[in-house]
Amino acid sequence: MIRVAGVAIALTIVIASFWTADAQGPAARRPAEPAPRLADGTPNLGRVPGEKGVWDVPYIQNMGMRIPGADGRTAAERGPAAPETGGRGGAQAEPDVPFLPWARGIYDYNSRNNSKYDPEGFCLPPGGPRMMATPYPMEFIQQPEQKRIFMVFEGATHIWREIYMDGRAHPQGDALNPTYLGHSIGHWDRDTLVVDVVGFNENTWLDYYGHPHTDLLHVVERFTRPDKRTLHYEALIDDPGAYSKPWTVAWNIPWNVDGELTEYICQENNKYLQKLTDDFGQSVVGR
């Protein structure tokens, strides 16, 4: 009898260990490969020679769900995502987002009309952290000898950004012309690429859910590659025009070993914009 119980316990352990391994998925069973490095020892955020690969940027719709709490985890990591069935909670549902009153109002408006006026729906590019939340592949091209890094995005209008690594400062005053992607200067803090961005125009939203920002927006991004197949992204959103204090969002971006960039030219046949009407039923194009 004891032997039978022993076998049962052993079986249970074996099954449990299978289950545990299975629950973690195939990726967890494979030992994580270390992040590659360039010849000079800096982390390589891109490919290694002879291999393919792109970062599969996830579709993150609501940055209010991506604020790390005291335990370091975000609401999205703590619980299952709420199904998007039309009704959204608006600013009231996001106590961790320090909205100024007008920002709260416009966010509630965007919630009520299901992001009808999302600039990405007009084929305009994402600005700021939304570049890392718009689900198309992305690659880093590092040029340490030229002291610059490019980020090349397949999607949301086939865009690229240049990060100056040569120690320059942001242009001051009118020399800083507001643009969609802003002015990016970067440096390495040990193995973290820190990018400081200012000079955004006001034609973009922070995310699909419609968190607004102003041209006072200042973003500090931190990119790390804890292992070969993971890019960790963190962004401080500092916009005294829209929020009463800075807030931070963070998420991981998986590496797609077989991925390559393809073409995506959003503007080609945008029927959504052709059909879009304003709140009074008037067409928004051709006016």
């Binding site: 299978f18 289950w19 299975d22 629950a23 998925g25 599969d56 579709y59 993150i60 719709q61 609501n62 769900m65 999205a76 995502a81 709420a82 998007e84 069935t85 039309g86 009309n113 299901n114 992001s115 009808k116 999302d118 990405e120 729906g121 084929c123 718009t134 689900p135 198309y136 397949e154 999607g155 949301a156 699909y208 393809t262 073409e263 995506y264 030219i265 959003c266 503007q267 080609e268 046949n269 945008n270 029927k271 959504y272």
Partner: protein, 133 residues
């Protein structure tokens, strides 16, 4: 074992459906609570960005009235990652489409999956409806 199989199936589904592309607001234009399944004959294919659109003559079984529907799918880059080419749908092909209807009541929908009658092959349409957080 059953759970593992289910988990594996869920993972496969996720992997296949993962490259959902985002362009405009899905829920501003379509109603996820109004699913449809329609079968008809392809009359036109616009293999273009930001959404491939195809048109289908659908015959009402009762009235025999023919309505030309149109369906939005993902962009060519997303569709190609899901196994499509620009010649997957051809004029005259009989296909079944599943997805969500337009909110405005017009004969228009967001296609989530397309089944080709000739082969029974089911293709994911790179729909933006996969709206995870």
């Amino acid at each position: 074992m059953r759970t593992r199989l289910l988990a594996a199936a869920a993972l496969v589904l996720f992997l296949v459906a993962a490259p959902a592309l985002a362009h405009h607001s899905f829920s501003a234009e379509f109603d996820a609570s109004k699913p449809f399944k329609l079968t008809g004959v392809v009359t036109k294919v616009e293999w273009q960005n930001p959404h491939t659109v195809f048109y289908l003559d659908v015959t009402d079984e009762r009235t025999k009235k023919v309505t030309n529907w149109s369906f939005e799918m993902g962009s060519p880059n997303g569709l190609m990652r899901n196994g499509w080419t620009r010649n997957t749908l051809k004029i005259g092909d009989v296909v079944s489409v599943e997805g969500s209807l337009a909110r405005d009541g017009s004969p228009y929908g967001n296609a989530r999956a397309v089944v080709l009658a000739s082969t029974g092959k089911r293709l994911f349409a790179a729909s933006s409806q996969t709206e995870a957080q």
